[in-house]
Symmetry: C2
Subunit: 231 residues, 2 copies
DNA sequence: TGTACATCAGTGAACGCGCGTTCACTGATGTAC
DNA sequence: TGTACATCAGTGAACGCGCGTTCACTGATGTAC
């Protein structure tokens, strides 16, 4: 996209000429994402992505084995962007554990609200059913996001904001599920009665985190003081 | 499907002959669902559904305007079946409000576990983005499920299991989001570290409800005793 | 009871389409000498 | 520095395919008389 003409000061990734694109793989991810955003996932084809990238319709096969591989790359890019946003949100909390926890979960919801179609692709059924085996990069990117959440939960455990005797992964998983489901249902307009403006949606999602967080605190303390759970 | 040959004792819906099918619309929903279950949503086409129903490839157009209409009918059927299961689960709780709440949420998760592909179709992006305007029947069926949950929440409020000063729809929405997201993430194998057997998944989903429920109790009592929330 | 007729669910052939994928090729690039 | 060559990203034509949808039709059914 940028630097279509060769430039002696460029690094090797952005080399380009009229014939050689330079970084067609990334360009196809971008144009593919553009199609998903503008026309929906059903409109995405390798040919359409190639056309939009200004390249012949067979060119994508130099970089992707098949259509699903492009989809997986677009999804992986989504998790990478989400991860970046999560990291920045945590950094903005300046070391306050509870603020970190709020920030990272809110950022997740914010991503769903802003990048709905990209988000849907990241969790599309054509990928999720077999992503572990077929798309290790995608899986790694997704787990990277999850690990960020786990890290914040661990920090909160150290600060006694969350109970320390509960598996941090399980706790993070609960939070993830809660915010994931709520965000999707709101974005799909299943709860218009709650108000449909972005502000109302945003507020409700944030309250969802607070609500579940209360449960995690209580739930974990009950476990701590009560009888141990069965294996 | 049943009663391919005419029978004088049948009602009008199950009339059939070699030429006239009898209830092709419902048969197409069934065969379409069968394709989704066996080969995935990508394999569903009007032609494939027609072939599997033993009928010419143009016949579906007598009953569905287009492919999306068939998809919407399959999704609607899913919500109807889910609703039926929810009602039965509630009935089995025999009037114990908390047991009803557990039963209805667990049944939701059970449906996701057992009917994963059908469930995915019910929330597929090709339908959710415009279901309100385009598919009123689908929307109605979905809301019917939600109202079942709202009803149980109201019962719990009457029994002081949940705070009475909080909107029942909002509370039910939180629960829905929590269980919806957790179920999906588990079914999509994003949390294999928690254990991937159906039993482990089931147990974890159930704990998710308990966890969130604790939050709703605490959260709502805090609201009750604290300052009122801003509008 | 018997017959003519309207209705309409299902037929089968056809349309145009865009897609995924393959393949021999072309031409730009970097490098070994 | 200049040249021959290997490499490989991108080309363009072609393949076969299944799809969504249309259309004039056929034949089974129910009903009015």
């Amino acid at each position: 996209m940028k630097n279509v003409k060769g430039n002696p000061n460029e690094n090797s990734l952005s080399k380009a000429s009229a014939y050689h694109h330079g970084d067609l793989k990334q360009a196809l991810v971008e144009t593919g994402l553009g199609i998903i955003r503008k026309q929906g996932a059903h409109a995405l084809s390798l040919r359409a992505a190639a056309r939009k990238a200004g390249v012949s319709e067979a060119a994508p096969y130099r970089h992707f084995h098949n259509k699903e591989a492009l989809l997986a790359s677009i999804a992986e890019e989504g998790f990478n962007r989400l991860h970046q946003r999560m990291v920045e949100a945590i950094a903005a909390a300046q070391g306050d554990p509870l603020a970190e926890l709020h920030a990272v979960t809110w950022e997740y919801a914010e991503f769903v609200l802003q990048e709905t179609d990209h988000f849907r692709t990241m969790f599309s059924s054509s990928l999720t059913s077999s992503h572990a085996a077929k798309h290790p990069g995608l899986r790694k990117a997704a787990l990277q996001c999850f690990e960020e959440l786990v890290g914040v939960v661990r920090t909160c455990q150290k600060s006694h904001i969350l109970a320390r005797n509960v598996d941090a992964q399980a706790t993070a998983g609960r939070l993830w599920g809660s915010i994931h489901g709520m965000s999707i249902l709101l974005v799909d307009q299943y709860m218009v009665f709650l108000g449909a403006t972005p502000e109302q949606t945003r507020a409700f999602v944030r309250q969802q985190v607070d609500s579940h967080l209360q449960g995690l605190r209580t739930f974990t303390s009950v476990q701590h003081s009560g009888k141990p759970k069965r294996a």
